[in-house]
Subunit: 206 residues, 2 copies
DNA sequence: CATATAGGCTAATTCGAATTAGCCAGATTA
DNA sequence: TAATCTGGCTAATTCGAATTAGCCTATATG
């Protein structure tokens, strides 16, 4: 990784731990292995580093959105994939998704930074809402809707069903962010949540 | 309200909007209507103001815990109160609780401050977890457990049932904190959530 | 009464952290 | 090969924000 990239990386780590205002340019430089003034050969100032992180994230969105749409269309086309999902594979899916978001370095650090800066920065608040509210509710809503159409789950309100599936997962995620020692408990709870969800919404187990 | 108190009040407002590091002593003083140096007649330094806010919050806990315990014991004694709860009154309870936490000045500001500072300050992380994880899950778990014993709701896992009741409420709360424009949607969603919860867990409507 | 004390103010002071100036070595290129 | 560019460094510089000094008035207290 070149220096310019490493600066973003280390800055994100620090911002996610302490918040923008509590990080000194010298801290970032230290972790990169250079002196503070050298940072200015790569970025105009501290704020430009922050902005670059956000811009890069926005690029990531664009890419992700594109691939999601493709998946989405594919999925809509042959929704059979989801219809055949057993309880076990739903469990596995839920757990993998949870662990990915919890531990993936980039997601985890960026989420914490969003959490810390959300009330200070409207743009970040919007990104947060998109990432952790609008996108998952619409994407998972689509999936659950298809599974419902296929008769595996039953509800007259897919939005609320999606909320019931997703909000416990989100809640457990934020708990682990705050206190990693609870991860084991969270994983157990996650399993029980999905099983119970299945039971409540009448999935016939295969 | 005397000056010493007003300082805490205005400081909490600012900390909850911008986070500790982004608030200047002069900002606080301004809002109180005095000059920055005068603050030091009341508090040793900026950090002492922050600490005083937390200390006061801890006192509030103690009081709240005491009254909760009393209610708890009473409730356990004559759990009939909860057994007689209709769907409508559960709805009302849920909505009032939600709106109280969302709008109550002290709760709302303190929650935002906790959110912003949680990764920077272990003590605040612990308070957050207590306030928004351990306490509600145990208290609401107790209530739902009693309602279940009375046969109004059915489950073999009260913990997960409690998670299913509470986590959507928590999620909606954090959404509104971030984007108050979503409050109307959140209230509607909250209603639908509780109705669906009732249906799923088999409350017989009266 | 006279004297503390509380709580406000203005004018320093301090100090830490961002940024700039200016130098230099090694790589790149005309 | 000579000129330029890149990216690093040390040593200023700047500047903003916390804190202190020292004064003043009103109110409470011996």
């Amino acid at each position: 990784m070149d220096t310019k990239q490493k600066i973003l990386d280390e800055a994100l780590t620090l911002f996610s731990e302490k918040g923008y205002a509590n990080v000194f340019v010298a801290d970032i430089a230290d972790r990169v292995g250079i002196k503070a003034p050298s940072l200015y050969k790569h970025y105009k100032n501290k704020r430009a580093i922050f902005d670059a992180i956000i811009e890069k994230m926005n690029e990531n969105f664009a890419m992700q959105a594109k691939s999601l749409n493709i998946n989405g269309s594919d999925a809509a086309a042959d929704s059979g994939i989801y219809e055949k999902m057993s309880e076990d594979s739903l469990l596995k899916l839920g757990r993998e998704m949870f662990l990915y978001f919890l531990h993936d370095d980039y997601n985890s650090r960026f989420r914490k930074m969003l959490t810390i800066e959300q009330f200070n920065n409207k743009e970040l608040a919007d990104i947060y809402t998109k990432l952790y509210v609008d996108d998952p509710l619409s994407y998972q809503g689509m999936l659950l809707g298809m599974i419902t159409s296929s008769g595996m789950l039953h509800t007259d309100n897919v939005e609320i069903m999606t909320l019931h599936f997703y909000s416990p997962i989100y809640y457990l995620l934020t708990i682990c962010d705050r206190d990693p020692a609870r991860e084991k408990w969270a994983l157990k709870t996650l399993d029980e949540h999905i099983r119970q969800f299945n039971k409540l919404y009448g999935r016939s187990n295969k």
